[in-house]
Symmetry: C2
Subunit: 309 residues, 2 copies
């Protein structure tokens, strides 16, 4: 294989009760990337469309993860990377993660899969760290593994793939405001009450159970965040209106996607997910903010090949 074109999906991290550990993968939103072998050794970003991102590999998320893998192998050729970016940077649905996993997934395919997905995540973490200033895998894992993932630990990296029911759909609104990573971090409490912590792990335990058993009542009952949402939701205009309207429209639950500003909701069917998206649309149409809305089934496959030759 000389060249490969892939779809690298957007992802939702935290998922209400699973702050810092849980994530899921989207199907209808993602970047495309083309990677090909080139005789010259090294990593070269040759084309970027969609957003203005740096071409120097060591300053580009996809480039940094590619370099992390490239430095771990010994080959007499290099890789050219083309990035067709659709996920807006800073939207809170794993834009940097899609870039970070895209390059290493492609290189691994071209090389004949010397690395497993956990090892690919290790390389991708280096790219993610460039964007988010810390090594975390809660968007990388669902992008690579698909479906719902629980990042049990980062060092050593331990990723568990959680099954999920077939009829689970996500609706996502991205209000086009900027939340600075520093602000999203600053509002996090360093200490939480034991009572709240118990509520949170009770919810996460039951969400994992609900996903395993395809029990939508249990999923609905678990999609709550008593730890982070009370703080970060204040950074997102009209958050409470969106939340109350999507629940009225039939969503199982809704919360902040990653560190925001996107808000996700989960629903039992595509029809409900559309009604939920309509409710999101209605709230934000009445405001001064621009926004995007996505509807997606849970992508159980994760990142995938579009073309190869």
């Amino acid at each position: 294989m000389e060249e490969i074109k892939i779809f690298s999906p957007a992802t939702v991290a935290n998922v209400a009760c699973g702050f810092d550990v849980l994530g899921f993968c989207l199907d209808s939103v993602g970047d495309e990337m083309v990677i090909r072998k080139t005789p010259k050794k090294g990593i070269f970003i040759t084309h970027i469309e969609g957003f203005n991102l740096p071409y120097e590999a060591e300053k580009n998320v996809a480039g940094v993860s590619a370099l992390a893998m490239y430095n771990a192998i010994d080959v007499d050729f290099g890789f050219e990377i083309e990035i067709y970016k659709c996920i807006k940077p800073g939207s809170g649905i794993g834009s940097s993660a899609a870039s970070a996993v895209g390059s290493v997934f492609c290189m691994n395919e071209i090389l004949g899969r010397p690395f497993n997905k956990t090892q690919l995540t290790e390389f991708a973490i280096k790219g993610e760290a460039l964007a988010s200033k810390c090594e975390h895998a809660d968007n990388l894992a669902p992008a690579l593994f698909g479906g719902f993932t629980l990042v049990k630990s980062v060092a050593p990296l331990n990723i568990l793939k959680i099954p999920s029911p077939d009829d689970l759909f996500a609706s996502i609104i991205h209000p086009q405001i900027e939340i600075k990573t520093a602000d999203a971090r600053a509002v996090l409490p360093k200490e939480v009450s034991l009572t709240d912590a118990i509520t949170q792990w009770s919810n996460l335990g039951s969400l994992v159970h609900g996903l395993h058993t395809s029990n939508y009542d249990v999923i609905k009952d678990s999609l709550h965040d008593v730890i982070v949402e009370p703080h970060r939701s204040n950074l997102i205009p009209h958050y409470q209106s969106v939340k109350s309207e999507v629940l009225m429209a039939g969503a199982l639950g809704a919360c902040i996607s990653g560190s925001g500003p996107s808000i996700f909701a989960l629903s039992k069917s595509i029809e409900t997910a559309k009604s939920v998206a309509d409710a999101m649309n209605k709230v934000y149409t009445a405001t001064e903010y621009n926004f995007d809305i996505h509807i997606s089934k849970i992508n159980t496959e994760g990142i995938k090949i579009i073309e190869q030759h």
Copy 2:
């Protein structure tokens, strides 16, 4: 049915990462109780063996839960209760819970099962509260439902039964020391670091996943408690020695059972559970403390009928 004899099992609450929500049911340790209809209206404790407990129904755990149910029904007869207590009060393996569920389970059988298990737990909570001064269900739920249970919430009561692998066995040591409930409570932190809380819910999420998938590696990797064990383990003499020895003997994990002083370990086979029990025995034989040791498979059935007529 006029009379019923049952086995009411001991239980392990908290299960390392599941403080206040998770529990599992034992098979080889438990009380026996006999309950029969009597023409005189009311709840009458007519016989207690094993330990010195009050005969007045309103001062006895089994009596209080029985009265809670009795006050919710309208019958022209009463119930006599005989208690054959094997689980030592204060041992940390659900002694009061076994009493609390035993009476209401029996009455429900005699009455033709008007109540479901969640409703029985509601009555039993009243008895448990007499013993532990607070309404909690983390021992009641596994005793009634069997296997592993997650008490998702107490008000409203929501209990989830988590499946578990067939070859999972518990070893338990009960060092005969008294830990006052007030002391066990006093050492609990009111606030915990967000970092520790994340570790704990990551472990609980992965334990639920490991139980669902019968993945012993995941179960082993999840049986950690970074929140409560560091504080309460200091109340149990030789705790660290027991823990390190049972892990050396092959246990998947070990932690405090309930609020102690019992220490439980989980193992993949009966053989390993026996080696683990031997390791427990060895540590405590070298001390001045008396102790009991139990080995049990996970009791997936919960409380059960021995005789009825």
